[in-house]
Amino acid sequence: MAMPATDRAPAEMVASPSEAPLSFVRRYPQFTISPAILVALVACWWLATDVFGAPAYIVPPPEQVLRALVHGLSRAPWDTGGYWYHAGITVWEALLGLLIGAVFGALLGFVICHWPILGRSWYPYIVGFQSLPKVALAPLMVVWFGFGLQGKVFITAVITFFPVLVNTMAGYQAVEPERIELARSCNASEWHLLSKIILPSCLPFLFAGLSVASVLAILGAVVGEFVGASAGLGMLLMQYDQQMELAPMFAVILLLAVTGFLMNYVMRMLERRYCFWAQRINASGRP
């Protein structure tokens, strides 16, 4: 790298960590250190079970879990004995619930911010409902919707609704007043003000809410399935639990973790696509 030749303290400049060429490990810790952590964790697991002999009815050894995973994933997606089918059901419930919860959360957020009288009159109820553990509603869902899809979608929507609502409200309040004045000085219509200024200004906040909600969506779907379901990863967990089959249970738990990770990853990709400007602003240190 070309450095300007200065006669003052060149040694310091070379020594500064930001100027030194980064090693591969430092540049891509997600491809080097992250897999190393995984290997270390699996090694500990293997040591605990196969070497030090932790009983398999408490912690199944890794190779058993791997076998269960391969067995479950080698089935066709329409085979109810395989994992793909149940994962598909759970993801479908989570996505539908997330969609409904996010749409309602964002809409309500805009409405109660745009008309403050609505905000102030509804706020106590919103806070009250927020402080209620939504999981407590799950048994009620069975009563209302039975064992089908609707109950899981409902509970997921209720759980994902709040992070989106709260972040939308924060985003609305964070819109620079000058942007609104700019629109008003150009005689912008209310609709233009909302669609061309306020909504895009809120996007980074909206995505922050969606990122949280995407992980909670899986939680909602699984909790819904715990209460009563005929399919889905949560139902599988309950089934293996009753049969004391710990290895497939661990396999399903791993699968749930990966699903949540992927949902969140997709959300971050969408954010990068539609909010590229927000990340650039942060990177340059401006608000």
Partner: protein, 274 residues
């Protein structure tokens, strides 16, 4: 009554024999609803601004100069008196006036050209009719190569130039500028002053320019309105009879110094420290 006002007419504009573009009479603005919180921001302002004139307002922070600009932009309702813009009472934002804010207020998700055309979208005009004009104006301020860039790729001075182009694209008669160069460093600021002079002398827009820099006000203006603080009133309106075009060397002339000293004394008279 008319005779009294004639005294404030600057030579340049009286020669144009123009109608005043802005006429303010007894203009006052009170903030706050309850009696305890009431703040008199502007008290009884009388002034006129003529077509094609460059008028600056100087005053300490809190003297209500930004409030005055927002009132003229139609963004704030006034409490008493009257304001006429081009012979019509001012009610809300007018297509004849465009605002340049202290910060550029460019939307980060839009490219420079999309930002410049935003007022056209807001006013529901045909964007295609204004593309060429926007490109010409960007070229005028040296941003022709940055039309497709995003604001975060531009320096502060370039962003403020884009904001000025956004105001000009609507072809307003009046440009309301609220300390537009206040956030820029001294060098960029001087450059922007020269550039604004160039744009102004080419377009003959009427400019109402808020600043807290006395030198900037004298350098740019035909007339300078000096405002007192709390309540905001007009201490004096001074005609700047310096030859145009002006360059930065004019700052070192005696006449410039006398104007500066006079304005300083007007602003100091109310016991302000700066």
């Amino acid at each position: 009554m008319n005779l009294a006002r004639a005294a404030t007419v600057s030579p340049r504009t009286s020669a144009d024999n123009a109608q005043p573009l802005i006429v303010a009479r007894g203009l006052s603005k009170v903030y706050g609803g309850t009696d305890a919180q009431r703040v008199l921001a502007l008290k009884n302002l009388d002034f006129q601004i003529y077509d094609g004139e460059f008028v600056s307002v100087v005053g300490q922070s809190g003297c209500g100069k930004s409030t005055l600009l927002k009132v003229l932009a139609g963004l704030l309702p006034y409490s008493a008196g009257s304001v006429e813009l081009n012979g019509k009472p001012l009610r809300g934002p007018s297509p004849e006036a465009a605002v340049v804010f202290q910060s550029p207020v460019l939307l980060p998700w839009r490219t420079v050209i999309e930002n410049v055309l935003l007022p056209i979208e807001f006013r529901k005009l045909r964007i295609a009719d204004y593309r060429q004009k926007a490109a010409d104006l960007l070229a005028l301020v040296g941003l022709q190569d940055f039309a497709q860039r995003y604001p975060f790729e531009l320096s502060g001075g370039m962003q403020q130039r884009a904001a000025i182009v956004r105001a000009l694209v609507q072809d307003p008669r009046l440009l309301l500028m609220d300390e537009p160069f206040g956030a820029l460093d001294a060098m960029t600021r001087e450059q922007m002053n020269l550039e604004l002079m160039r744009i102004w002398s080419g377009s003959r827009k009427t400019v109402f320019f808020i600043t807290h820099s006395i030198a900037e006000a004298i350098f740019l203006s035909d007339r300078v309105i000096a405002m007192t603080t709390r309540p905001g009133t007009i201490a004096d309106i001074i005609s700047i009879d310096l030859p145009r075009p002006r360059d930065l060397s004019i700052i070192n002339t005696d006449r410039f110094g006398r104007y500066a000293a006079h304005l300083h004394s007007l602003l100091d008279a109310q016991g302000g420290m700066f």
